[in-house]
């Protein structure tokens, strides 16, 4: 399958060796952004049919950077199987589809991950009545696990490393895992932490379930573009970085206008008051100002879509800034 995909990618390249993606997007008048068919907190249509979520915000940020208008984006829904061919064939300009950055996807499939907008990882959820506070106490537990996934291998590794045993209850889908856990057929459900949070939020009484603190795998999720078009890659990369830097500098969608007269040099550079960083990217000079004004900084997007005040209740954790105990770190804006 992967080999086949890379062949598609190569063929698609041969066909699409033309002007840069940025010019294509500008000529077209809107951005085509690939998102999931629906994943709580990351991308899902809201009641009025608008796409909302962390990944949807990423798409809008790029649209704002290019056009200065958050509505100039067309969301193309893709599934786990169709996302890579869709990007390779040029049907979308970028993907923001909770896709894990791995070496084979980055190198072999011919894509370029431009950053990480959510650090996910495999976790465990148990009923609070079980009274465990750490995954190392789960000796002998029955674990609901999706078969044929990397989660299954991670689970086996984790239990072997800790010298404890478990009994696997194989399941196929997330829904099945949810039903089995709620019905008490397994003691533990394991999948990506963000998935656990949405499972917990869907329970009739979320307080009866706890997500254990252990995260046993690395799942850095980020936006990606086609390999080879570095100019376009830069636009997407710095749209994400601008949101992270804005949080570092304390610029929010509310105080961004006041910050225009700030005396911090990096703030002025980011907002386009000083320097010509927009021109370098072939964008207007207020591109980052517009992103912050119309979308907000990273923290605002996080809090609105997946943060502790949403039903998902995902704490910042790894996704906090490097200055606040997380690993979110953007290169300097100069």
């Amino acid at each position: 399958m992967k080999k086949l995909l890379s062949i598609f990618a190569v063929v698609a390249f041969a066909f699409s060796a033309h002007a840069g993606t940025l010019d294509d997007v500008k000529n077209r008048g809107f951005l085509k952004c690939g998102v999931t068919t629906g994943l709580a907190g990351f991308a899902a249509p809201d009641d009025s049919g608008e796409w909302a979520g962390l990944d949807a915000d990423m798409c809008r940020a790029v649209a704002v950077a290019v056009f200065g208008d958050r509505s100039k984006v067309e969301f193309i829904t893709t599934t786990g199987k169709s996302r890579f061919p869709t990007l390779a064939s040029g049907e979308v300009d970028m993907l923001a589809r909770n896709t894990t950055w791995t070496i084979s996807r980055d190198v072999n499939l011919g894509f370029e991950f431009v950053g990480v907008n959510f650090y996910d990882g495999q976790g465990f959820m148990v009923p609070s009545a079980l009274g465990v506070s750490s995954a190392t106490e789960l000796d002998g537990a029955t674990v609901c696990i999706q078969t044929g996934t990397t989660t299954e291998l991670n689970l086996a590794d984790f239990f072997r490393l800790n010298g404890i045993s478990y009994e696997a209850l194989p399941i196929e889908t997330n829904d099945e895992g949810k039903e089995n856990l709620f019905a008490g057929r397994c003691d533990v459900y394991t999948t990506d932490a963000s998935g656990l949070s949405s499972t917990r939020a869907a329970a009739s009484n979320p307080d009866k379930w706890v997500v254990l603190p252990e995260i046993i795998s690395k799942e850095p999720l980020g936006p990606l573009v086609r390999h080879g078009d570095h100019q376009w890659g830069d636009v997407v990369r710095w749209s994400l970085n601008a949101m992270i830097i804005a949080e570092e500098l304390g610029i929010t969608s509310e105080n961004v206008d006041a910050q225009m007269s700030s005396n911090v040099p990096e703030v002025l550079r980011l907002l386009g008051v000083e320097g010509n960083y927009g021109e370098m990217l072939e964008l207007s000079n207020d591109w980052a100002y517009q992103i912050i004004k119309q979308i907000g900084n990273y923290s605002e997007s996080y809090e609105a879509n997946v943060g502790p005040d949403t039903p998902l209740e995902i704490a910042r954790g790894l996704n906090a800034l490097w200055t606040q105990g997380g690993i979110l770190y953007a290169p300097p804006f100069r």
Partner: protein, 377 residues
């Protein structure tokens, strides 16, 4: 003497309601036992399902009288002892379920298309319709009108198919697939039985290839491979690519169904037609096909219903049909956990359409008396 002539009524136990009950439900003791068991199950199930779907359910307001805007406000989430289904999610999302992301200002076009679809189906459903001939003309040009209405052009603003969704996509895929596959299927079936080796081989190859792969594979083929075969610059719409795949798939199945009908026609019919000097096309059009299609009605409807349900597979290639919109709704943090309501609603809509199709086929069978031997054995 009079008493002797009196007509004796049949025993009470064999007529009327009692007789029907005796014959159908309590014929012998196993039969009675099963009847009682089924009645018990229904007694357990029906009050519960009625209570859940109607009596205890929230439709727009919860039991406190507030309008429901997210799942936390559903009665059963406010008070787990209280409340059944929370239909408010369907109420709030109804627009998306029916039209997808179609722009609100242009939605009248979809409504007009829905009404026109009903009008176009009318002459097909009722043979006794007055002025049926003119209605049929309308049916023939309906696809063209619908195309311009839904897609744009001729003065209408263009609405990209990316914005289509929900029932609209399900109906477009189902209707187009079924309507296009029928003529193509007939041609393929005739082709496969043709005495010209090239035509017969090509048709057989096509049918066997398409039938040999799952619909998902064809959908992927349409989504991923088709654009690579097209010259650069020609951008084929995603929905069109899926339509091509669905139509190819359905026509292969339709061809085999119709070939089954063709094979049931006795050789005498062919010989009789030929002896009257009919050409190949006249023979098929006037003698063979009307009979073959008539006996193939049940399997034709069968594969059509199958296709209608298979359209839900398009979610694999990222098109949000009725089921896809349902899943998207479930991914909205406002409506997490309402899967029973959403899947119930989606299956109800599918049931209405497929049940309608199967009733129509029964009506056709009765009208055309397909059960009767055609007198040529």
């Amino acid at each position: 003497m009079n008493e002797m002539n009196e007509v004796r009524k049949p025993p009470v136990a064999t007529t009327g309601i009692i007789g029907w009950l005796r014959i159908n439900l309590f014929f012998n003791w196993t039969n009675s036992l099963i009847t009682l068991f089924v009645i018990y199950c229904l007694y357990q199930f029906i009050p519960w399902i009625l209570d859940w779907t109607i009596f205890s359910a929230d439709f727009k307001y919860n039991y406190l009288g507030e309008q429901i805007t997210n799942q936390e406000m559903c009665s059963r989430n406010l008070d787990p002892e209280n409340g059944g289904a929370c239909w408010a999610v369907i109420y709030v999302r109804f627009y998306q379920f029916i039209y997808g992301f179609y722009p609100k200002v242009e939605v009248w076009r979809v409504n007009v298309a829905y009404v026109m679809l009903a009008l176009a189906l009318l002459p097909l459903l009722y043979a006794k319709l007055p002025y049926r001939k003119y209605f049929l003309y309308f049916t023939y040009i309906f696809p063209v009108i619908a195309y311009f209405l839904l897609n744009g052009g001729l003065g209408f603003t263009e609405v990209s198919t990316n914005k289509w969704g929900g029932l609209l996509v399900t109906l477009v895929l189902g209707c187009t697939g079924i309507a296009l596959a029928f003529p193509i299927g007939i041609m393929l079936a005739l082709g496969r039985r043709s005495k010209l080796p090239v035509i017969s081989m090509m048709c057989t190859l096509f049918i066997e290839f398409i039938r040999g792969v799952p619909l998902i594979t064809l959908l992927f083929f349409g989504m991923v491979m088709l654009p690579l075969f097209l010259p650069e610059g020609i951008d084929m719409d995603g929905l069109v690519r899926v339509l091509v795949a669905v139509t190819l798939f359905q026509s292969a199945y339709m061809a085999e169904v119709i070939r089954g009908g063709l094979q049931a026609i006795p050789p005498g019919q062919y010989e009789a037609a030929k002896s009257l000097g009919m050409s190949y096309w006249r023979m098929n059009l006037l003698i063979i096909l009307p009979q073959a299609i008539r006996i193939s009605i049940p399997p034709i409807v069968n594969t059509s219903i199958g296709l209608f349900k298979d359209t839900t597979l398009v979610i694999i290639v990222g098109i949000l049909d009725l089921l896809g919109i349902g899943r998207g709704t479930l991914a909205d943090t406002n409506w997490l956990g309402l899967s029973y309501e959403i899947y119930f609603f989606v299956s109800l809509v599918f049931f209405i359409f497929t049940f309608g199709m199967s009733r129509y086929s029964l009506y056709l069978e009765k009208k055309l008396k397909t059960g009767i031997n055609m007198g040529a054995d």
